[in-house]
Point group: C2
Chain length 220, copies 2
């Protein structure tokens, strides 16, 4: 990289973070650093897909080991012996407490270190699936907190916050990167071709259907 990066993008290799990376690249070319996390997720295949996507975007990509997260609390996203479900009135079993707070905090430390003024994260209140750490008030509080923690002036950008999944697909089409979705990983079960049945796959497929665009990803 020749110039100081402008943005750090939290990058899981999923559909939303791929769209978010495409937006950051539209804003800053490849003065962008993608950061992924290994936290014991059962869909670890996303880290491989993230690498492929970062190469497509021409941006650097690094993985931070946050395996301590999966040791803090039981959840079905990091423990395959727990069933993936979502009971009425409860948080989903896939909720990993503190996950986005850890991700953003690490991203903020890296942004400070690199001198990047922006941090992108592809979270979304509209389709937030019951996760409290995907809401806008959480992001606003976190931006204030990380800046107080380090005497920085980082701006957290959430280009997908108020979009439906269909609008996210349309945004990606407008950015001319629809082909990236072939490599993006969504399935909670970690399957490629994707299972097409878990909550994450169903949400993805619904979005494409509503956008009237076909998903380039392979399904079982």
């Amino acid at each position: 990289m020749k110039t100081k990066p402008k943005a750090v993008v939290l990058f899981s290799g999923g559909q939303d973070s791929a769209t978010c990376l495409a937006q950051a690249c539209a804003d800053f070319g490849n003065d962008v650093v993608a950061v992924g996390f290994d936290y014991g997720q059962r869909h670890k295949i996303e880290l491989e897909q993230a690498k492929i996507l970062a190469e497509l975007g021409g941006v650097s990509y690094r993985i931070i080991d946050l395996n301590f997260i999966s040791q803090l609390t039981p959840n079905s996203l990091t423990d395959a012996s727990i069933e993936i479900d979502h009971k009425e009135g409860e948080l989903p079993s896939t909720f990993v407490p503190g996950r986005n707070l850890f991700f953003i905090s690490v991203g903020a430390v890296i942004a400070r270190q690199l001198g990047a003024p922006y941090l992108y994260i592809g979270i979304c209140q509209t389709d937030y699936s019951g996760y409290p750490d995907c809401r806008d008030d959480f992001i606003k509080a976190t931006q204030q907190t990380v800046n107080l923690a380090m005497e920085t002036d980082l701006e957290i950008r959430t280009p997908l916050m108020w979009l439906t999944k269909a609008e996210t697909v349309t945004l990606m089409a407008d950015l001319g990167r629809l082909d990236w979705y072939k490599e993006s990983h969504t399935c909670y079960e970690g399957s490629r071709p994707a299972c097409g049945k878990c909550p994450a796959c169903l949400l993805r497929l619904k979005g494409f259907e509503e956008a009237g665009i076909s998903d380039p990803l392979s399904y079982q």
Copy 2:
């Protein structure tokens, strides 16, 4: 432990966190869980001292591996090749960006998991040594952020926030636990007996002198 713990105490084994643990034990007996962190600190000896102190307090103690922190940014607290200093108008070289945010976030996840309503941390704005993440506004923002992240109602308690080091020593005397200071570790150089010369040792010694109480710790 027979009952659900009332408090998680972030516990480095240093003077301030020992005082904080003593306060939590005064508030809740031994319905308290002490949590320490291995983050590649050069004064790792504090983890051993923390274990001794937790036994003195009759509370359970666990260490969480946060070694990823030392890989994010260079600092003299985790990299012995960097000199410990503090230039005018700059953050101290011992500043580990994001450290207290990571510690509190992990503590909050553990507190949620255990059902403990309180989190204690022995940070202090009065003697804050230039660390922005030891200030009260940071704590208030962080409390809001962790609660938004996990839909919890955790209260972060900072009994030392507005105390001078001398007042902290006096508090420990009032709590009847002055003997714990013999085991508490402060020295940045990781020396036991303590070096007596690094900024942390000097601050500690000044506090005892001002309180008119002698430090039971051994110095070189």
